[in-house]
Amino acid sequence: MKDTPEKPFKGRLEDRRFLTGKGRYVADITLARQCYMGQVLSTHAHARILSVDTSEAETMPGVIAVLTGADCAADGLGTVPPFFMPSLWGGPEGYATQRKILVDDRVRCVGERIAIVIAETADDARVAAETIMVDYAPLPVVTDARAATEADAPKLWDDNENGNISVSIPMGDKAATEAAFADAEVTIKRRLLSPRIAPFSLEPRVSVGNYDEADDRYTLYTSSQDPHGVRSNIARNVLKIAESRLRVVSPDVGGGFGLKAHMHPEDALVLWASKHVGRPVKWLGTRSECMLTDTQGRGQEIEVEIAATKAGKLTAIRAEAWTNLGAYFWGTATPPLFFAMQLIPNIYDVGAVDLTNHAVFTNLPPMSVYRGAGRPEATYLAERMMDELAAELGMDQAEIRKINAIAPDAMPYTTATGMTYDSGAFADMIDAAARVSDWSGYDARAEESRAKGRVRGRSLISYVEVAGVMNERMEIKFEPDGTVTIVAGTHSHGQGHATVFSEMVADWLSVPVENIRYVQGDTDKVLIGRGTFAARSSMLGGTALLRAKDALIERAKLMAAILLEADKDSLDFADGMFKVRDSNKAIALTEVAKMYYIPAGPANALGLGLTGEGTSAGKPGAAPNYPNGTMVCEVEVDPRTGALTVDRLAALDDVGRILNSTICEGQIHGGIAQGMGQALMEEMVFDEDGQLTSGSLMDYCLPRAEHMPDIASELSEVTCTTNPLGVKGIGESGAIGAPVAIVNAVLDAVRPLGVAHIDMPVTQAKLWSALRDAEAAQ
């Protein structure tokens, strides 16, 4: 729903608890008799472990137990494979690693968990952990993905027959691409980098494990986007128990961004430790610990070449990428490997493509998803190259994009990478974005900048997102008193599901929204669900919810027919009432619902309770949706100092049918801020020994309020045809478009000064050096 003066946004149902300090985050959970876990992390990026001496720690104050990899092995704990490998998405087989939750033989990156200390307080645990002596025999280190593919590079996994490459994913048509290049009037080549960055949810990771001997069952409280996924992984792979013997609860989660879309070793460690010590065990990740041990996003180097006509029409793209997996193929690393290639065509008819993505092991901490998950890399390539082509041919940025954009009447359109777009009005979006951003007023602003001794640059970029992966389940239940409970398989950690899904159900059933309770994030309450990531919940959660509503209404009809003494097929449901067609007999749904709970009487025959369940499916298997949009950015650069301001940023997003415009725009703003961080300031920096040198907020820079421009955001509704609600995802769009929107604007500003290329993050120092180099060259 769009906000209107008649129906303004009034806040979210979940806001009050957050605003009053009553949020329920995992760090806030205190169980009776709980103790704390501290960790010993590897200080070498590659080394054999010769010995682990825990003797001093065992005698330290407050220490209850010290556990090492040897204890893991003695207890028969299993190792953790990737959540899934590219072969499940139609890619080739690759080398899948098995990760130990405590490493006892060989560390392959800094931050590997080697031992844990369980103690009375968090401080006791940490202090004791520091006394544990690990004796290492260092091994040669490789941190760069491309270097790791060299024949003489140190090898991470001895039995990997493919050196350090886990898998190489090819896409496209080699012969057609070669033919297009042979005929090309213009070709342009570039090497582009998307460095590793930190998802950095503001809430650090945290887990509490509790083993209950009475029913031989474990409970894990963890800050996760996908509690059922964590449950499967730990139960099956680590503890080797039936999944029903593990309960995973993720109450309020302080931001996820992909970091929390999969389990982390600590999730399993607190459970195992709890069984060992017979008490609940809590692990509170400190920020420095999390910087070192969190999964990271991006980490790609790509060589790209495009072919085009002199009129600016693309005819082919070929590219070879090296993605830095780090030491393990971990978590959900598969989707970014695909999306980084599949979305390269973007909104364009690009002709032929020949693409390969090598997933390479190095001695860095593991890569996994981070908001955008490969899509920002693909969009960065497509839009950087589009601007290079425009610059080469002296064409306007908007014009060259419209020449190449896929026309609406070509829908459904299958790209050279096999994505089938169902809908999209791409050229219209470009025109509309130009209007929203006052494209035509640019010259005057550029003149103003010049007068101040600055240079102004601008960009106009488009992006496509692919949203709606995997499958989902939702449940709607009437309580005996006529109130409603939604049991969601998705997991909201900022996205406002409690509000949006409740409003949808309130609307469908004509039940007041205050009478709806929203439940999520507990595997004992939610039968099954996939959680929230990859902008999946609006389509998959929404569709499953709609089907749950339909199922509920179908069942309610049976009772309504009895109560109205009418034929079930003569009933219509509207405005919360069942009405007998062509008569004035009617009954309210809530009254019908209550009858499902009376203990005796003729209605009993229908059995107890009124619920409806619905499921839905997306990619792969069923069709996803393709949100898309256009961003316009203007920057101002001081050529003397390299100081850079993002002055204006406008985003026009096609989100399909709008469920809640304020929440959509909130998602867009947040994504743009993260994209700006990626473009200008964020980078996980490792030295050649694989040591992290950006391990705290002292060295890792995040966008703050004063860095951000006021974003002009507008939504456009091009109804999606692949789901009954007509919705498209929104969670990642801002993070996909913003990096290249900003970098292109910077290049537009400094190209006339001789700077033809710059890599992210475009820090002031980097820009200053590039400007000085250009000056020297002239």
């Binding site: 605003l19 300090g21 503001l202 204006r648 705290s696 907020l697 995040l702 004063e706 951000m708 006021d710």
Partner: protein, 165 residues
């Protein structure tokens, strides 16, 4: 170990602390006021901001034992009793929060910003004044809007209605 009397959210509390006990740990672990959050270990995120004798402080930087007797501390739980404070209302109305983790620190900071600006407040002033608070979800846009909305509700004039786009 030392004993100290503090006034926390208007209530007198006698507490026993170690020399190394940070104020944030006292608030969270001993007082069980878990609205004050910990987002970093270098005093840079602002998730732990509370009011201390009229000033806002990052409670992760304060050693409790060094506080004067009778120090007055207000956490997010003490910002209002019963109805929401106008600033809390404003954050909700302007969608100035998503995951909510940064929110307590931001609300406490925002009230302070407004109270220190009786002569009026602009969007760019708000952005500067928020330099100690990180939010990873909202992109700050709706936080800035919330602070200005809250300022209006608190009777402070907003001098620059719309930021220059």
């Amino acid at each position: 170990m030392s004993e100290i009397t503090l006034r926390i959210n208007g209530k007198q509390r006698r507490v026993t602390v170690e020399g190394r006990t940070l104020l944030v740990d006292l608030i969270r672990d001993q007082m069980n006021l878990t609205g004050t959050h910990v987002g970093c270990d270098t005093s840079q995120c602002g998730a732990c901001v509370v009011k201390l004798d009229g000033d806002t402080v990052k409670s992760c930087t304060v050693l409790t034992a060094t506080l004067p007797e009778g120090t007055e501390i207000t956490t997010i739980e003490g910002v209002s009793t019963g109805d929401l404070h106008p600033m809390q209302e404003a954050f909700s109305k302007c969608h100035g929060l998503q995951c909510g983790f940064c929110t307590p620190g931001l609300v406490v900071t925002a009230i302070d910003i407004v109270e220190r600006s009786p002569d009026g407040l602009s969007a760019s002033q708000v952005r500067k004044a928020l330099k100690g608070n990180l939010c990873r979800c909202t992109g700050y846009q709706n936080i800035v809007a919330s602070v200005l909305e809250g300022a209006r509700a608190m009777g402070v004039q907003v001098t620059e209605e719309k930021e220059t786009v």
